[in-house]
């Protein structure tokens, strides 16, 4: 039983923190956001050079074979400085979906690791909420080619992906656990329409409409749900680490503000009500960090244990993350709502992290029903 990072993990975290501070710190952020796509592209290339993009890709597929704890260390750095790169999608989720499924996948993974390819994954459909087994998008085999038709309403970080991994129905009917398969499609496939949306936190998401799109089957036919759930749990857990680091930064910034901002002739940190609020925010961050460790260290456990751990973490970190970010804004007063201060950016990211892959209540229900 041990909660310490190894020396290498600590070094990784320190480098990401330094990178974030140098490139995305509060004072540089507004300028970066003005030309967000090119700054993200620049960071992506630099992260590729640093080897970070191949962290969780298995060694046999050109990566570093990093563990969940390695990913957690990296995500702490990303979260603390709110680096708006599609890291979790491209470098955690997609590798977990593709790894070990064969040659095409290996090529894509190598490209991701080197920074040459970005990929995203689409599971969710209209009227399906966050349910991963709600898959109606059809895959038909015709002349030995898979043709996909249907819609994915939300693809996290789909905005600038070169490839999409999507779930499709190859057997059974909508909501069946069996009969779901994974497919790879290129972003410029004929018949694919990509609609992009900017989120409030600088990420770009997509809606996909497919009309007989040529696709490559990935992994076991009909039996992809377990793989998808496991990969999404990894993505969620990485997000959880990002959220925890963002909470801790928001707390640090707020604590600093409480000490320096003066009203009615005294520092506002001398007001007991604000002191106790800061304490509750600190406790919230402690709880969140504990849940992050709990989820991360159970990612390789049996599926029931893993799902309960991940959903518990997603629930509590969603709740405490929003609490901390909202209170951080509140304690800053009017300026807390301004773009100029970093604090509003933490709130926006926390809102989006809570939404990604299911809000707190969705995961509380999943936690209760896993068996």
């Amino acid at each position: 039983m041990n909660f310490d990072y190894s020396g290498e993990q600590q070094m990784l975290l320190d480098s990401v923190l330094r990178y974030g501070l140098d490139n995305w710190s509060a004072d540089k952020r507004l300028a970066c956001l003005k030309d967000l796509p090119s700054n993200v592209t620049k960071s992506w290339a630099e992260m590729a050079d640093l080897g970070w993009l191949m962290l969780s890709i298995p060694e046999e597929e050109g990566g570093l074979g990093g563990t969940p704890v390695d990913v957690m260390a990296l995500m702490e750095g990303i979260g603390r400085h709110l680096i708006p790169v599609p890291y979790v999608t491209s470098c955690v989720l997609v590798p977990a979906l593709l790894s070990g499924t064969g040659e095409t996948a290996t090529e894509i993974l190598e490209g991701i690791g080197l920074g040459n390819i970005r990929a995203a994954a689409g599971f969710l459909e209209s009227e399906g909420g966050f349910d991963l087994n709600y898959v109606g998008l059809s895959a038909e085999l015709s002349d030995n080619r898979w043709l996909l038709s249907g819609e994915k309403v939300h693809v996290e970080d789909g905005g600038d992906a070169d490839w999409y991994v999507v779930s499709a129905r190859t057997a059974g009917s909508i909501m069946d656990s069996d009969g779901i398969s994974l497919f790879l499609i290129s972003a410029n496939s004929p018949g694919l329409k990509v609609e992009n949306f900017r989120a409030v936190d600088g990420h770009t998401h997509s809606r996909l409409r497919l009309d007989n799109v040529n696709a490559t089957l990935v992994g076991e036919k009909d039996q992809a749900l377990m793989r998808i759930e496991s990969a999404v749990d990894r993505a969620i857990t990485a997000h959880v680490a990002e959220a925890v680091a963002s909470m801790e930064m928001a707390n640090a910034v707020t604590l600093d503000y409480l000490g320096t901002r003066r009203q009615f002739g005294v520092s506002i940190g001398s007001f007991q009500v604000l002191q106790h609020r800061a304490v509750d925010m600190a406790i919230a961050a402690e709880e969140a960090r504990s849940m992050m460790l709990h989820a991360t260290l159970n990612l390789n456990a049996d599926p029931v244990t893993r799902k309960r751990a991940v959903s518990a973490a997603k629930t509590r970190v969603g709740q405490t993350g929003l609490y901390v970010a909202k209170q951080a804004v509140q304690l800053h007063g009017g300026v807390g709502t301004c773009d100029e201060l970093i604090i509003s950016h933490h709130l926006k990211r926390q809102m989006m992290l809570d939404t990604a892959y299911g809000q707190a209540d969705y995961h509380r229900t999943r936690f209760a029903n896993v068996s």
Binding site: D131, N196, F271, G333, G334, C338, D339, M351
Partner: protein, 391 residues
């Protein structure tokens, strides 16, 4: 004790209802429900329609062009406005400077400025807050130096809502330095076209331009535009204390619009079932409705107190506090109802999101400021503790 309206009041309700059915366009609905202000030109059109009907100033006495309505009528009016999806009237002129002018202003000021507020020919903004002052308004630094027939204003105002569309601003400025910081502050009426005024937008996280910094650089204001006596501007705010409860009440009545917005969003199917029918969402929504019922009844009691000329104590502050909490919760539920697509804030390359998505997110972000402005929730609690509980 009863909740019933008289026959007269019921007839009035009918009248108001048919008026709103006519003047409120459907395309306002989503933004109004999300608690977002409409565009200035829409608000002006709405105010002009009200003014034409004689209802431009529901809370003002008849002699100044108001309706002279009693609290029950105002309650009916706001309830029907809520029901019809009408916005809250822009309040800087109607509720903030108007009443000060008709209470403390000169006859000339009344004649010049009151009609413009009612018929929306003028748009007022409030120059009170300053950088670093926040809740501690008495520490303001803007000066007004008398120079012949004019005051010369210098300083910087902050959080000046809608200064970028306003034709006029009412400004608190220091005309002398006294030991007591609240003394020596004067209230001036300023034409926004006066040279030396520079308006700079403040970018807020909701990405809606609604507030500004205003720089005052040798801005010359005729002494005729001083309200009341020099150095007593701070005290004129007190007339607002009593009126504040009506502003809070109107906001609180309109909370039903946000709740309706969340409810409409929850018609979305999740795994084939409308979200509002799922037990966990349904119980959260019921909780919201129940708390809104309490708020609405608190408002009714406030109105009844006002009708009876009774002091309603801290109930105005309580209503403001609870309103902002419920507004924030309702927007949270709305976002939840949007599901994964809540993340779709702005469509790129001509892509459109369903109309309530960007507005719901904008409304949710905007809602955070409601527990900060007009006296933060913390300040409200200080006030209630002191004034009502004697602590």
């Amino acid at each position: 004790m009863n909740l019933e309206f008289t026959n007269e009041e019921l007839a009035f309700q009918e009248e108001v209802r048919s008026f709103f059915a006519e003047v409120v366009p459907k395309e306002w609905l989503t933004r109004v429900r999300a608690g977002l202000r409409l565009e200035p030109k829409e608000l002006i059109a709405y105010q002009k329609a009200l003014a034409e009907r004689g209802w431009g100033a529901p809370n003002w006495p008849k002699e100044f062009g108001g309706t002279g309505w009693g609290p029950t009528q105002i309650y009916i009016f706001e309830s029907e406005a809520t029901r019809a999806g009408a916005p809250i009237q822009f309040h800087q002129g109607l509720e903030l400077i108007g009443p000060i002018i008709f209470t403390y202003g000169s006859d000339e000021q009344k004649k010049r400025f009151l009609p413009g507020i009612i018929n929306a020919d003028d748009w007022w903004c409030q120059g009170y807050s300053e950088p670093g002052a926040g809740s501690d308004l008495a520490s303001l630094k803007t000066t007004a130096a008398k120079d012949g027939d004019e005051y010369v204003l210098n300083g910087q105002k902050m959080w000046t809502s809608y200064a970028h569309v306003a034709s006029h601003m009412f400004v608190l400025a220091r005309t002398s330095n006294e030991e007591k910081r609240q003394q020596g502050i004067s209230l001036l009426l300023v034409d926004m076209k006066t040279p030396g005024i520079q308006v700079k937008p403040i970018d807020t996280m909701d990405e809606k331009h609604h507030t500004n910094e205003v720089f005052l650089d040798d801005v010359r204001v005729p002494v005729n535009n001083l309200v009341g006596e020099e150095g007593r501007g701070w005290g004129y705010g007190k007339v607002l204390l009593d009126r504040e409860r009506m502003v809070s009440a109107a906001n609180a009545i309109h909370i039903q619009q946000v709740i309706d917005g969340a409810r409409a969003a929850a018609e979305r199917l999740i795994a084939g079932v409308p979200l509002y029918k799922t037990p966990t969402f349904s119980s959260k929504f019921a909780q919201l409705e129940i708390e809104a019922t309490a708020l609405k009844t608190m408002v009714l009691r406030l109105m009844a107190d006002a009708a009876a000329g009774v002091d309603s104590g801290p109930r105005g502050s309580m209503v403001k506090l609870r309103w902002s909490e419920l507004y924030q919760s309702a927007m949270g539920l709305w976002l939840e109802a949007l599901g994964p697509e809540a993340a779709h804030f702005r469509g790129l390359e001509n892509t459109q999101a369903p109309s309530d998505m960007p507005y719901a997110m904008q409304g949710a972000l905007y809602s955070r400021v409601t527990s900060i402005y007009g006296g933060s929730s913390e300040i409200q609690r200080n006030i209630i503790a002191r004034r009502a509980l004697g602590l």
